[in-house]
Symmetry: C2
Subunit: 452 residues, 2 copies
């Protein structure tokens, strides 16, 4: 009999506990959807500051702005963490055309991040179209020497998660120039990383790896419409000429910062939970989705916790990382400093997949940590978050380590993301206020649950 009563009592306690959790999450969502600051912050970051490539004036302004905003939230500490970052600049707007006989057809291109410039008058050469890096070895130096290699493998359409298609195509952008250079190619043109047929070239990081500097060749992305046109014209005239000109360059490294705000833990201040996004963006637009959204959502998490008067047991930090796009220095620096300071990170969450309707979370962690996260799944169903699964969480939190560290990444709906990613279209008007707020609410709810 006593045992039965004990069980009933335990069940009741569990029920009260779970009702308390439900109530808190409801409160977080209500505040996020009516009193949040994230949309206004993103408006400022996008429309008053704009592009924030590492080392740029925009990046510096974004550091000062977000620091100042965090200072208004009544946190226990707001500070900057020094980090040296690469400083690549695009220079003049690129130009390119396809030449068949005397007929020149202009196409939209943009230099890839880290690329070298062409000579002042540009480069003109015949074009070899390939779909896969592996084709280079088959073609060999004989066919590739002096040529421009044109990587034209489109996104696979069949994947439901758009990031899978990106992952299966992005080797062309990241490794294309490095590999083509080995066979004597003079430049590479890469089909933009998106599904949609449009006129916007999408930039992004590329790496020459360890090839000698003398073998660096200029590399650019071409819009998907441009890629379709070039491919069509190549079928008609395999000997056509492609000309392009870009004046980008890599300047000396620059001192920059991660921006950090913190609420001290009331019971276990030594345990640290972080939520973050990256403050830098590419240079072609405002970076509203990549990753302005993640930045303001992460700031909003701390705003919401303060708003509802929640006092966390563990220390909670917002970290706005610098230099995710072309170096990852901010994430590395944060981890190095955590090691030096002997900090115990138990949870890290990143939002860097756009500001769209949240669909769930990806997790990385050991089985026990995963099990804890999975227990919360049903609490998110009323908020239309259903995806709770293992997977990539975030580039900036990738270097972070810790015993029993669980990592989470917000999973917004991915279908529209590559319409904007790294292109001139990634602007504030592509953001929906409620979608942004729902993401922030989901993140704040998960932080709250993980703090218990």
């Amino acid at each position: 009999m006593k045992k039965i009563f004990t069980t009933i009592f335990a069940l009741q306690a569990l029920l009260v506990f779970s009702q308390e959790q439900e109530k808190m999450i409801r409160q977080i969502y209500d505040n996020a959807l009516s009193k949040s600051k994230c949309y206004g912050w993103l408006d400022h970051l996008s429309n008053k500051i704009g592009a924030r490539l590492s080392g740029s004036a925009g990046a510096e302004k974004a550091i000062q702005y977000t620091k100042a905003q965090l200072e208004t939230l009544g946190l226990d500490r707001v500070y900057l963490q020094e980090v040296m970052v690469p400083h690549w600049v695009r220079g003049e707007k690129e130009s390119a055309y396809i030449q068949v006989g005397k007929e020149k057809t202009s196409v939209s291109i943009c230099a890839l991040g880290g690329s070298v410039a062409t000579p002042k008058n540009g480069i003109a050469a015949q074009v070899i179209e390939v779909k896969h890096l592996e084709e280079l070895a088959q073609l060999g130096a004989e066919k590739l020497k002096g040529k421009i290699v044109f990587y034209n493998r489109p996104f696979e359409t069949g994947n439901i998660e758009a990031f899978v298609s990106y992952g299966h195509a992005v080797d062309q952008r990241y490794l294309g120039a490095r590999e083509a250079s080995k066979y004597g190619a003079v430049g590479t043109i890469v089909r933009s990383m998106n599904f949609r047929l449009d006129d916007f070239p999408h930039t992004g990081a590329q790496s020459y790896g360890d090839i000698p500097v003398s073998q660096y060749i200029p590399t650019a992305a071409i819009s998907t419409n441009g890629a379709e046109l070039l491919s069509k014209k190549l079928k008609e005239n395999p000997k056509l000429t492609f000309w392009f000109k870009q004046s980008c360059e890599t300047l000396p490294e620059v001192l920059s910062y991660n921006v950090i705000g913190e609420i001290k833990g009331s019971e276990h201040p030594e345990n640290v939970m972080i939520v973050g996004g990256h403050l830098d963006s590419w240079d072609l637009a405002d970076g509203a989705h990549d990753d302005g959204a993640g930045v303001v959502q992460s700031m909003e998490v701390l705003h919401l916790l303060k708003k509802i008067g929640y006092r966390p047991k563990n220390t909670i930090r917002v970290v706005l990382f610098m230099n995710e796009e072309n170096g990852g220095r901010g994430g590395e620096k944060y981890q190095a400093a955590a090691q030096v300071n002997n900090e115990n990170h138990i949870f890290a969450m990143e939002s860097d997949s756009g500001g769209f309707s949240p669909r769930g979370f990806s997790f990385e962690g050991d089985d026990e940590a995963m099990k804890k996260a999975m227990n919360f799944k049903s609490l998110f169903e009323p908020y239309q978050l259903h995806i709770f699964e293992k997977g990539h969480t975030g580039s900036d939190i990738a270097p972070l380590t810790g015993k029993q560290l669980l990592k989470a990444g917000l999973r917004p709906d991915s279908q529209r993301y590559f319409d904007y990613h790294h292109a001139a279209t990634d602007t504030f008007d592509a953001i929906n206020k409620r979608e942004l707020e729902l993401g922030a609410a989901a993140m704040a709810s998960l932080i709250y649950l993980m703090d218990l």
Copy 2:
């Protein structure tokens, strides 16, 4: 021993059956994401035809276009079903201003569907702002006579499903004029049915119900920014004047059509399954989301089934309903004809919630039919459809009856819908190709499963 073998055999059969289902759904999705026609159809409907309000030239063109397109799909039968529809026209673009002393501030309004015109020179009157219809009785004729009633209850922000907020606000639009007229008001202005603060007024149906024609008063929607401004100015000057002018009118009814395409069932041709959307739209834009998306997705379902060579056991019909927006005549006519022809409808699905990323389905039906639908839920999880629940399915299929009839409604992500709904913003550029295709694939998959 024999019993064990029988069980194993039955389980194996079940497994093979379920693998076959998985394979078919994969095939449907692969085709939808690479070889579908729906995006091109919607481009034509939106950009070549445009607005399709019942009785308009656009509606007639849309009937002819969709019929012609269905005729290219190799269906067993394509036909038109006559239906008489109301014919309301907006006339000249509306104008409105707030007047304080000699200062006039223009605001964006649009007549609500079915409204009468103002006198030629417009109407000017003092304004009474209310949040709820119930306030009218408290204010009484003394305070409302000769006034313009301004309904200004915003969408509730806390609901996760945007349609819930719409449902809780739309009485102001649908019943506002009818109720205010009873107290002698001379006109009503209704805050637009959306979350976002912007300058676009949203039209939509309103009904004078059974009040005498002589008591019909003009009613218009005001943009959310306009509503905020009017409310602010009313606080400063409760005696300000609002002036508005509109020249809309209701013309005699017009002969129009539902467009129907059919694949005859190979085993049970007498059992009918339908999939549809509504071909009419409001007049302020292309109606790309409402409901061009549902129309082309429904057509795509039959295209996909033909494409993969699926021969349905039951008769499958696409029904493009006329006049959902301001009368619902198409849905009523379809049901009446089904009764006359003694047709046995076993399944009806509608897509009329926008062309956004599909999140699942709502269902209406008895327990047994619901159970059948729920059994398929796990098959949709790899495609990121998670919502399978009871709820509203579609206005056009609402009149339809049948023994054991199960109804389903596609549930796209709802956050952005009311940025476009019934406003000048509902254009083709707000459509994402993959989101549209994923909806069509989900619908085709459910039709295929329900056919088994």
